[in-house]
Subunit: 253 residues, 2 copies
DNA sequence: AGAATAGTGTCTATGAGACAGTATGAG
DNA sequence: CTCATACTGTCTCATAGACACTATTCT
């Protein structure tokens, strides 16, 4: 058999799974859905679904994101700051035994979204909710009654860990942290995003000097807000610069 | 239809494609094979093949790498420095029209190898060769008769570009450049790897101070060599450190 | 007034980049 | 000898981190 014979190939199912991250109440949270059917019935899982026959992978991921959150994907070309999310491919998971029913290859995607009111349950899941990644990634689950316990279904714990690590490293050298913020935000709000994603405290003064001193990162939006209390803070929106050079340093030495 | 019904899914073929990079004669080169059959018959393409029914994605990539180059994949756990290559997943390409015959999702992998004598032709390709990425990535191909012309088959030009970009950025903050070197190498040889991959000239003295001053990056192997001419240089092997902090800065501002 | 957050200035340690100068081989 | 490469040392400039200080709001 020629390895390129198109009539002799093992059939695979291809899905997209989504790691949707947001920052809620100073904590990095991921969107999880409760599975309504076997396998792993009743367990929490990442949202996802089959790629359709004539659908690109990115389109499938964007479709699932809309179905689960109502978020539209931000088009990098369009100038207007819709409240769309950032979406990028994460990695592909294809262990032959990752789904007990059949051979499924899942192309995981990472989405970063600003804080949303509440997730709406999609048609293909009993319920959906935001859960702190700290809870989801701990072996035991939290002791609290109202939090979803680990472990996630399938290999979703690994996918989530990879997505969180991608987000944590990517905000170092890119302006991606603004994807967690509303269209207009203050320096303090952006700093709290970094602190929530990295789980560390940053010096507010050095942070302010760093982000306002990087050309193209932030552009003044013209107003001020006092929604955090204290002295009114200038509002910014994300500038055109996507790469941060020199990068924001993650304190951890 | 439930989107999770395992009996109702569109069938996909899943392949792995390989971006195999090495440094030959001060140039970053990629392994390409000439296609022996339609589509794109006679054109150059990245090596690759179908994932088998019970095979993990990484295993399929490692199998293809052995078939094409004879290189075994370096197991990060084993201490002995076999001349294995570095292998990692790159990205997945699934445009519905990327293969005119059928729906094929390709999980591309990136392999970094030391300089090899000559590629052996695999069973599923007429011929294989190393080609400078500069030639492969230019629109026109080189004017020289003995070089493979662009463009590559399928979407392999995009995959190659993504692989090259991954390699270029990853040697900044990791010790991955040593994957291009033989088990024992000199500081100058490692510098020439950086220069070839980035296409820039680096100050030999500052480079030497940087790499020898980073703990765990290089460990002395005990001997010296004079294979580059000039004063004999100390031989090193790659140390245990995989992350470079602070990173090697790519001069380009 | 006191608390909280925003924003500026100043000092210091670290490291990158530039480059002088010495060491040791091949021809 | 010259030439090529290896390696060390020194200077300067940029910047991260620490932190004093002022500004402006709310309760």
């Amino acid at each position: 058999m020629s390895p390129y014979d198109p009539s002799a190939f093992p059939p695979f199912a291809v899905t997209v799974d989504l790691v949707v991250l947001t920052v809620r109440r100073h904590a990095l949270c991921a969107l999880v859905v409760r599975r309504g059917e076997a396998p792993f019935q009743g367990r929490w899982a990442l949202p996802g679904g089959f790629v359709r026959a004539d659908e690109d992978l990115a389109a499938a991921a964007a479709r699932e994101l809309v179905e689960e959150t109502g978020l539209c994907v931000h088009d990098p070309g369009s100038p207007e700051p819709d409240n769309g999310a950032h979406l990028e491919q994460l990695a592909t998971y294809g262990d032959p035994k990752r789904d007990p029913r059949m051979r499924v290859v899942s192309v995981a995607h990472l989405a970063l979204a600003p804080d949303l009111p509440a997730p709406k349950a999609g048609g293909d899941a009993n319920s959906a909710r935001w859960a702190p990644v700290e809870t989801l990634m701990s072996q035991e689950g939290s002791g609290r009654e109202d939090e979803p316990p680990a472990p996630l279904a399938f290999d979703h714990a690994q996918i989530l860990a990879d997505g969180v690590e991608r987000a944590r490293s990517k905000i170092e050298y890119s302006s991606l942290a603004t994807a967690f913020c509303p269209p207009e935000f203050t320096v303090g709000e952006l700093r709290r995003v970094y602190e929530a994603v990295w789980g560390v405290a940053l010096d507010p003064r050095n942070f302010h000097r760093k982000v306002t001193g990087t050309p193209g990162f932030l552009v003044p939006a013209g107003g001020t807000t006092t929604r955090q209390g204290g002295r009114p803070a200038q509002l910014f929106r994300a500038g055109g610069a996507t790469l941060l050079n020199p990068p924001m340093l993650r304190p951890e030495v």
